[in-house]
Symmetry: C2
Subunit: 402 residues, 2 copies
């Protein structure tokens, strides 16, 4: 029997307890041993709840109990999660976490700690919710040089963009509805400004390159400026607008960016709508590989956490090799990141001026109500070139194209 | 340094050599040791080829060399592959194979042999080419009861169906073109009759249930009867026609079937076209998860094989747990498999007779040239019910709907 402790009895924590209880014998068979939840840690009380008898408020009870060999950290946030996880590993316990902030910031350090102690630090649920992606990158995509990782990594923003697209609604009204339905937080900043996707692409990129990609260094733009009109143009172009977290190698340099992109229907992420997530990787041997599933939600996320517990149990006293050193991965300057751009500028009949600045472009006509502006798609150019060429125009919006 | 031997220098075998040579230092880092190809076995000579100096014709050279710890079997077919693999494991060597016939037939036995010898029998490339699917099922999807596996598992047939759909061509002419391009074999039976997909779904189902699913027991229908007209109707219905290998739990029973299915655009496999493969799984906790990539091709398949070599090197002297016993998984009778059907019967104005037999159905009008027939979509019913109800009609075709 393996004793585990669950830190945090919120959405994911209660999901972990539910998943283990519901599929207990199946999970035990796959783990090769019975998994027993010995403690649940939370500052709150849960009178009448099944975990009432195993609820503890003092982390030291867990830390000092040598019978607990796996700690599940699903509290979120940096502190006290970081201290708790650090201490658990120090005491020779494996840790499984869904905490993307923690992993993005301290992943390299905690992996090194775990290696030293011959235990495991696992974080499948930190990216892509229920989608198996961390373990496939570590265990399966070991042969290829990966030159592209691009993902729809945040279910809330994808839900909002999908509703804007299919129902022709404005950002604010969809956000309000998503908040009412519980798909978006009351403070939606981390989702809609792209901060959540930024931490996730930082984790994926760190694993792919084997070096620390600091999320603070990743250029990040959210979806708050995307309008109904943008979707009218997107439709005319046969594209969709998705918030992508991308890490791409161009001419030997690695660029990382989180921003809304227009993608057409030949793109593997085009048809991923609603709360689903998708992660595309391109390798020099494999070509494209894509992983798709529920990027969030209590049970899918909990299932991913428990799959880590199973793996930790199977690898008792064996550190699973994960290459992610603290050495910083050098990222290219975002001013040198190149792509094509969809652009809207104020003024009708701007065609001549546009072509003078941008050379040959593709003009887009979408709607009579939009006749007081000029819209076009540029060729591929660097960010800094775009900024230079757009000077002198009254820019309404620009959306990158992938 | 780890010495490996490659059995078979055909498409995949030469791909394995190319992948290891091209990404040598990257792969060595991920494996934690240098991988050296000591032998290539083939009955042919390859004068001037880089493998000329390591080419052997007698398998015993490899078998008796205790320096060889990993054998890569990429010959295909049952014999001599089975004997060679069996002997290699017996001698304490791990085996990595892309051979779906071998794995479907002898997977349980060879896994048991490998476990006994504390080595590994790995077969990531046997299903889905370059798509990581075997390892994710074994290592990541360990928590859920999987009640559906459904995949586009054969690139050749998906290429043919995609061309028929997009260009309005007949089966025969697309097959001919695919053969000329090398996308289809000169003897295309294994692909177009669904035998290849059948072996692959048998492997996936065996891993998911942990018991032997015999491919001979799986009801299998190919795509040779799909016509241009079927695609005209499919378009009118907003669906696509895909050859799916499916294992599905209905009312506690497991059914397995390979057949063309109509799927609509809400289906995760809808947009998978051309030579790409996709595999959808549904779990009780995870909901839908889908894996997408190149289902065939020299380098993607070779990349998957080499990812197994890396795993074998990382797990020297440790058997990776894979649950697939020789005990047979009982499958439900295909006569009890239930779904909706798209049906075409001869005769115009058959609406009344159709509704008398099938109750309420959805009639489909597609094209004036098809006015001498009646087409409709039934409700969900069992195979045997369908067969009963269709008696008395002159059936042109029926396609299941998923």
């Amino acid at each position: 029997m393996v004793n585990i402790a669950v830190l945090g009895y919120g959405t994911v924590g209660s999901g972990v307890v539910e998943v283990i209880n519901t599929n207990h014998s199946h999970i035990n068979k796959r783990a090769g041993e019975e998994i027993n939840i010995k403690y649940v840690l939370d500052i709150r009380e849960f009178p009448g709840d099944p975990v009432e008898n195993i609820l503890v408020h003092d982390y030291n009870t867990i830390l000092e109990d040598d019978e607990v060999s796996v700690v599940v950290e699903v509290m979120g946030g940096i502190e006290p999660a970081y201290t708790f996880v650090k201490q658990a590993i120090e005491r020779g316990k494996s840790v499984c976490t869904s905490n993307k902030e923690l992993v993005a910031k301290y992943g390299a350090e905690l992996l090194a700690d775990a290696k030293e102690k011959n235990v495991n630090f696992l974080f499948e649920a930190s990216v892509g919710g229920g989608i198996p992606i961390i373990r496939p990158i570590n265990q399966s995509l070991t042969v290829d040089h990966i030159d592209l990782i691009s993902g729809i990594l945040n279910g809330t923003t994808n839900y909002i963009l999908t509703k804007m697209e299919t129902l022709g609604l404005a950002f604010e009204s969809v956000l309000k509805e998503a908040q009412e339905k519980g798909y978006a937080e009351r403070n939606p900043e981390a989702d809609v400004e792209g901060y959540d996707a930024c931490r996730k692409i930082a984790i994926l990129a760190s694993l792919v390159y084997g070096k620390q990609v600091d999320y603070e260094k990743i250029y990040t733009e959210g979806i708050t400026k995307i309008t109904r009109d943008d979707f009218i143009y997107a439709k005319a172009l046969g594209t969709s607008i998705k918030l992508l977290g991308t890490s791409k190698q161009i001419d030997g340099k690695v660029y990382a960016i989180v921003a809304p992109f227009m993608i057409d229907e030949s793109h593997p992420l085009y048809s991923i709508s609603g709360v689903y997530n998708g992660i595309l990787l391109h390798g020099d041997m494999l070509d494209n590989v894509m992983f798709y599933g529920r990027g969030a939600g209590k049970l899918p996320t909990a299932s991913a956490v428990v799959s880590d517990v199973v793996d930790a149990v199977k690898h008792r006293d064996t550190n699973i090799m994960t290459i992610w050193s603290a050495e910083k991965k050098k990222l290219g300057d975002i001013e040198d990141f190149s792509c094509a751009y969809f652009v809207r500028v104020k003024g009708s009949n701007m065609e001549e001026a546009v072509e003078q600045a941008f050379g040959s472009v593709k003009f887009v006509k979408a709607d009579e109500n939009l006749s007081s502006e000029t819209a076009f798609v540029t060729g591929v150019m660097k960010e800094k070139e775009f900024k230079e060429k757009i000077k002198g125009f009254d820019l309404i919006t620009r959306i990158r194209m992938a």
